[in-house]
């Protein structure tokens, strides 16, 4: 897709043309405007960061992208298909997967089951075979188990495979959540503050995983992050939101130098 626009990065990754274009999105709750007229794009294969102060509308933006909120205006073009409103499971079936700001794991299930849950859309065997469990359904289950085990190895969480996720420490829960999102083999991965509440060591691990995912699987990633250091290190391009509006968009270095961004972060009165 749009491979004519592809470029090579310094570290040898291929970045393609826009996989997603967000066009003039506005979102209101009752009388409150959460997002006003925002447009940006995400290129295939890149790591795109969305930053901004609290209440800037970052999470709302992700919610719009994967269909949980329906914007009043604007449209989203994903892989050349334009749409205004759709159900989250449709987004999922098109290859958009995500993690959440406050971990949203399935607490009653084990790590293994949580990551298997990410494979839901890949499993096709019908109710009848599921009921009997031997034969095709079992074969299918094992195939997916294999993929899931690879993800478990990749994320280095072998030891907690059978532990109910409710009992895991926060850092590990975040990692499991990433695993669950990866299991869907997404073409666009949305990460909502993947490093919130982590210590430096955990942040380093997580950054490494994100870069590896992008590098090894070529997954396009859009992430929200507060830690500017991390963003500057791993993002290819950054979009900055403030009070529901876009105030800057560009390479990390450019954004960092932008006066509006500095004002927004330092809290200059508007």
């Amino acid at each position: 897709m749009s491979s004519d626009q592809s470029t090579q990065t310094a570290d040898g990754r291929t970045i393609g043309g826009p996989i997603m274009e967000v066009k003039d999105i506005s979102l209101k709750f009752g009388g409150v405007t959460a997002i006003k007229n925002i447009s940006f794009d995400i290129n295939e294969g890149e790591i795109r960061a969305i930053i901004g102060p609290n209440g800037a509308g970052k999470t709302s933006m992700l919610n719009v992208i994967n269909g949980f909120y329906h914007p009043q205006e604007g449209q989203i073009v994903f892989r050349g298909e334009a749409r205004t409103a759709m159900r989250p499971y449709v987004a999922a079936s098109q290859g958009i997967s995500r993690t959440f700001q406050n971990v949203a794991l399935f607490e009653g299930m084990s790590t293994l089951d949580n990551i298997m849950a990410g494979r839901t859309l890949k499993m096709k065997k019908n109710f009848f075979w599921q009921m009997l469990r031997f034969g095709p359904a079992e074969v299918e289950e094992f195939e997916h188990r294999k993929v899931v085990e690879e993800i478990i190895d990749f994320l280095e969480i072998q030891a907690i495979r059978k532990t109910p996720v409710g009992r895991l420490p926060y850092g590990l829960q975040k990692r499991v959540e990433l695993g669950r999102a990866l299991a869907a083999e997404p073409s666009l991965l949305l990460l909502d503050e993947p490093m919130a509440g982590m210590n430096v060591e955990e942040k380093e691990d997580m950054s490494r995983f994100i870069l590896d995912v992008n590098d090894q699987f070529g997954t396009t990633i859009a992430l929200i992050e507060h830690d500017m250091g991390v963003v500057m290190d791993i993002a290819d391009r950054v979009v900055v939101l403030d009070y529901g509006q876009k105030i800057a968009d560009g390479l990390p270095a450019e954004v960092q130098a932008n006066q509006d961004v500095i004002d927004a972060y330092l809290g200059v009165a508007h």
């Binding site: 499971y89 607490e107 298997m116 079992e138």
Partner: protein, 358 residues
């Protein structure tokens, strides 16, 4: 030292994915099945089989059904009694319309009717949750109860308004009706319950069960993982009501022999819910433990004063029975919200390290 998993390594996914990965558990299951299929029919008295085992199994099946909906999918229902009724009345109609068809087959088929009705009343669950859903299931309960009285066609215009089980034979063995031997009925019930438990367990350990639990634990995330709430919730309602329906059909055909609408009233919905809570939400084993507990408790309580030589009026026993069940529900919710199934698991945990304290 007896109950150990050490040294039992799984070398392939098949073994690791099996429902009872530990050898001792597999032995235990075989033992239970042996007792259920061989020992009880051989040595159990008619009363024990008829009034303890058969209802226990039937209620356990209904509890599995409700557990699929409430424990695994997180949708509370107070309509189980009515869904059991749908199964029973459909079975009665089927048996009278097709007198020559295998009655066991018809019992299973009647589950589909109840599944269909269950899906209809499950539709509101797509928009509403929690307590609100309780009210819609109560609507199902009371509306269906009314149908069982008012639609006379359902009970073949019988003046008494009751459905009476006719005598039916399968391979020349009397299976239903008053002449049927308790042991025969017990074996039929047991086989159906074992088969359906196995199926429930398969569903729960596969993709469909996972999608139910995803909806239960975090419905928004589930939807973002590609679970369609419509399919997941309605399939849970359908499967749950199917189980309730088969349980209801068996209740009338294999146990009571005749039934009026009161056999499917809201108190039965409560009874099954209690079994699920006390047994453990989200546990198939718990459904059996809960059914056994709730069904046997009154029997024990009734025998208790007599065993002590006290002359306590039956009414008092009945009142105390209510108090104890109510108290136990609160007790379990406080001490161990995961019910008997969790206590069972803790006992096993203890057994694992036995004889050492840790």
């Amino acid at each position: 030292m007896i109950y150990r998993e050490t040294g039992q390594f799984k070398t392939n996914y098949k073994a690791d994915n099996s429902i009872f990965p530990i050898l001792q558990d597999r032995i235990a299951i075989i033992f239970y099945l042996f007792v259920a299929f061989i020992v009880i029919p051989a040595f159990g008295s008619d009363f024990f089989i008829n009034s303890m085992m058969i209802p226990f199994l039937i209620f356990a099946l209904a509890a599995i059904g409700l557990n699929i909906l409430t424990g695994f999918t997180g949708q509370i229902s107070l309509g189980t009694g009515a869904f059991m009724g749908v199964g029973a009345y459909s079975c009665y109609k089927l048996v009278t319309i097709f007198p020559d068809t295998n009655v066991i087959f018809l019992i299973v088929i009647s589950g589909f009717f109840s599944a269909a009705i269950g899906m209809v009343f499950g539709l509101p669950s797509l928009r509403i949750k929690g307590f609100y859903l309780v009210v819609t299931t109560l609507a199902a309960q009371f509306f269906l109860e009314w149908c069982f009285i008012r639609i006379e066609w359902l009970y073949n215009y019988n003046t008494s308004g009751a459905i009476e089980v006719p005598r039916r034979e399968v391979f020349n063995v009397i299976v239903t009706g008053p002449e049927a031997a308790a042991v025969t009925q017990y074996l039929v019930v047991l086989s159906i319950v074992v088969a359906m438990t196995w199926i429930a367990s398969n569903l729960i350990h596969g993709r469909i069960g996972r999608s139910w639990m995803m909806i239960r634990d975090m419905d928004i995330a589930a939807e973002l993982m590609g679970v369609r709430p419509l399919y997941a919730k309605l399939s849970a309602f359908a499967v749950s009501s199917f189980y309730a329906g088969v349980a209801g059909a068996m209740m009338v055909f294999m146990w009571l022999g005749a039934a009026e609408v009161e056999s499917f009233d809201v108190n039965h919905s409560f009874l099954i819910l209690f079994m699920v809570i006390i047994g453990g939400l989200g546990s198939i084993k718990g459904s059996f433990l809960g059914a056994a507990f709730i069904w046997m408790l009154p029997v024990v309580l009734r025998a208790f004063p007599k065993a002590l030589g006290l002359d306590v009026p039956v009414a008092t026993v009945e009142h105390v029975n209510f108090m104890i069940i109510g108290g136990l529900i609160i007790f379990f919710l406080i001490i161990e919200p995961n019910g008997l199934a969790r206590i069972w698991a803790l006992l096993k945990q203890k057994l694992r390290v036995w004889p050492f304290p840790y």
